[in-house]
């Protein structure tokens, strides 16, 4: 195979991938989102990040209680039309982590109020069609989802307290054929029709379609008897105007840093410097794709990590270029110098990258919030460095060395003395 072509193939491939990373691509149902559709953290697009814990509860909350609490939060967010959200349970620490964006078109959105409201105790009510309250959350002892006795219809089972059973018997007696509306706060969550009078305090809501729908409803009903309200003991609110300005600044800083590093490499290392610039482009492309393909959240420190790894990324090229220069000066032919240069440089590049991987992974595991993104971009940078700074660079330099006109030592920064 003509190795001269390798250089151009690598350049074209890098350019193509770079365009994909920048503008995105869509093939059938598969889509890679472009750089402008990154999933940004709340420090960039604005939003709320809060950790809720039970208020004044003398013990750790159970998993079921946390599930119920999550249901309350999600139902309320549905009511507020916040769909792009992230609600996760931290079982070990008994906490619920909530993250949602504050969109720039919601100028009047009161984020502080939203944080308070999400944590309030849920008010669950069963109401008759006239709006009179039949049952409250405390009247229900337990609610769970299961398949009915025939095994083909998902249902929610309600177990009522003695007092609740009494009230429910009265209500179902007078409401046969009518609906009972179940509300969480002021959100209607279910409206079953009464089939028969229920006197024993064991009711069933039928025809819920799927088991998931049934357990979701059961969770919502359980949340009505949750014995605590939630309090945000860690909360960060960032307005959208603050964040978007910061993004532009960081992107600008990134472009400038990239250009400066490339200029430096070109001026100082000539041909290997050019290769370093292409390798650097490939590295950044890989990092962008590693962010956009899994839609990994990118924060401001994450962008700083990306810029930092641009600086760190040329290390491999610097080591190799210095080595090639040295080997040329010691009288080796160009091809031999390139090969020895790469071989001798590999172990230092490898060791150096491994230690950065160690700290990046530790940052991802133990770092809080926005630092996760920093660890991730750093990690991707180092991994891509093996692909771009080491492998692709070697292929490109070897390929370029096949061009007679480029085979001058001064192109490799080694002066005129040797060949």
């Amino acid at each position: 195979m003509n190795t001269k072509r390798v250089f151009f193939i690598t350049v074209l491939l890098t350019a193509a991938l770079f365009c994909i990373a920048l503008f995105g691509v869509k093939i059938g149902s598969y889509e890679i989102k472009g750089a402008d559709q990154m999933r940004y953290g709340i420090d960039i697009r604005g939003g709320v990040e809060a950790t809720y814990a039970p208020k004044d509860l003398g013990r750790a909350p159970t998993e079921n209680e946390l599930e119920a609490a999550r249901t309350i939060i999600e139902t309320r967010m549905d009511a507020k039309n916040i769909t792009d959200r992230d609600v996760t349970i931290d079982k070990n620490n008994g906490k619920i982590l909530v993250r949602f964006p504050w969109k720039s078109d919601e100028a009047n959105f009161d984020a502080q109020k939203a944080v308070s409201e999400l944590g309030e105790t849920a008010r669950l009510t069963f109401r008759d069609p006239q709006g009179n309250i039949i049952l409250g959350g405390s009247d229900i002892t337990k609610s769970y989802a299961r398949l009915n006795s025939n095994g083909n219809d998902p249902v929610v089972v309600l177990e009522l307290s003695d007092q609740g059973a009494e009230k429910f018997a009265e209500a179902t007696g007078r409401l046969i054929g009518q609906t009972i509306n179940i509300y969480m706060d002021e959100t209607l969550i279910s409206w079953p029709t009464v089939g028969t009078q229920i006197t024993n305090g064991n009711a069933q809501i039928e025809h819920l379609g799927s088991l998931e729908a049934a357990s979701s409803l059961a969770n919502k009903i359980n949340s009505g008897s949750l014995p605590f309200s939630l309090v945000a003991n860690n909360c960060n609110i960032i307005s959208p105007t603050l964040g978007s300005g910061a993004l532009d600044v960081m992107v600008m800083a990134g472009k400038l840093a990239f250009i400066l590093v490339c200029l430096f490499m070109l001026v100082y290392y000539r041909l290997p410097g050019l290769v370093a610039c292409i390798a650097l482009t490939l590295q950044v492309t890989g990092q962008l794709l590693a962010l956009s393909v899994p839609q990994f959240t990118l924060t401001l420190p994450g962008i700083a990590g990306l810029i930092l790894s641009v600086g760190m990324g040329v290390d491999a090229n610097v080591i190799v270029s210095e080595r090639i220069k040295e080997e040329l000066k010691s009288g080796k032919t160009l091809m031999r110098a390139i090969d020895t240069g790469f071989e001798k440089a590999f172990s230092s590049v490898f060791d150096g990258n491994i230690t950065v991987i160690i700290v990046a992974v530790i940052l991802m595991i133990l770092g809080s919030g926005s630092m996760l993104s920093f660890g991730y971009t750093l990690l991707c940078g180092v991994i891509m460095n093996f692909v771009a700074g080491v492998t692709a660079s070697r292929l490109m330099i070897r390929s370029l060395a096949n061009f007679k006109s480029l085979r001058r030592p001064q192109f490799f920064g080694a002066g005129r003395a040797v060949q």
Partner: protein, 306 residues
């Protein structure tokens, strides 16, 4: 060729002086923990017409009954004025109290068009948890790096290489910490990230030099003294050390300049220590780790002969 080993005492003195300076600054300035680690609340509002900070302080104190500190800040480039309300660790605000603060201030300054720009509240026990995690992260990194370097360089005395590398890392960590203290930047997760990045990167330099020592040892055998071996290796790889650090320094300096101009505190407080850390990382490798390793080897040889 620069004789690093011969001049080691100058380098050691410089480093020790700088580290002492850091301790002195810690003594004078104290070490400030950010809200993220210490707990507390900070709320920032943008506003348009004049506000009196002391008066605002009283309004907030009346609204929530907690000791408050209010400050005004303006940024000419973004044409923005900020009112910053902060409360100490044991006074962290609940979200309801935050609403009360906003309501009271809006009521008192209807013409100022107060708008919530940013708020952060951390309960002290959560902050403590973050802080412990951060320290744990640093300790764990040190251990893993020591282990890795020791393992990779068992040929040139794994223990000596690992230990001297870790001393150089401590040096860098102290330098980064000193920058935070001297510039009065409160420690937060940027601190942890800066320290981890610098030690991950600085060890990189040290490894390159040790790698060179390993290679030269193979080439030259026992013909040369440890001092000559180290000086030769450092000089050979010095251009690489300087150039790589220059590239990293450039990229982080650009970030710092932009963060400074556009007043992005979170990024600035992270980029500035990182800039110093890069220099320290380069210095500690060339001027500290190499000479220390030589001293260790010389000492070992002496005891063997005796």
């Amino acid at each position: 060729m620069i004789k690093f080993y011969e001049h080691r005492n100058i380098f050691f003195t410089i480093s020790i002086c700088l580290i002492l300076l850091g301790f002195l600054a810690a003594f004078i300035n104290g070490i400030q923990l950010d809200i993220q680690f210490a707990g507390g609340s900070i709320i920032k509002y943008s506003y348009s017409s004049p506000i009196n900070a002391e008066q605002a302080e009283k309004i907030v104190e009346q609204a929530v009954g907690k000791t408050t500190n209010c400050q005004l800040q303006s940024n000419t480039i973004k044409n923005e004025k900020m009112l910053i309300v902060s409360l100490a660790s044991h006074e962290a605000l609940s979200s309801q109290e935050q609403e009360a603060v906003t309501a009271a201030l809006t009521h008192a300054y209807p013409a100022a068009h107060l708008k919530l720009s940013e708020s952060l509240t951390v309960e002290p026990f959560i902050g403590q948890h973050f802080f412990t995690n951060g320290i744990l992260a640093i300790a764990l990194s040190f251990m893993l790096i020591l282990f890795y370097v020791g393992f990779r360089f068992r040929n040139i005395g794994g223990l000596s290489a690992g230990t001297t590398a870790i001393i150089a890392l401590f040096h860098d960590m102290l330098m980064v910490t000193a920058v935070f203290i001297v510039f009065k930047i409160p420690l937060n997760d940027s601190f942890i990230a800066a320290v981890l990045t610098i030690i991950g990167f600085s060890i990189n330099d040290t490894i390159v030099i040790y790698d060179r020592i390993r290679e030269n040892q193979r080439l030259l055998g026992r013909k040369v003294s440890a001092a000559e071996l180290v000086d030769l290796s450092i000089n050979q790889s010095m251009m690489r050390s300087i150039n790589t650090n220059l590239a990293v320094f450039m990229s982080i300096a650009v970030v710092y300049v932009f963060a400074q101009i556009y007043d992005m505190a979170s990024i600035r407080s992270f980029a500035l220590p990182m800039m110093f850390g890069t220099i320290s990382g380069c210095y500690s490798t060339i001027c500290i780790a190499g000479p220390l390793w030589t001293m260790w080897q010389n000492h070992k040889n002496k005891t063997q002969i005796a």
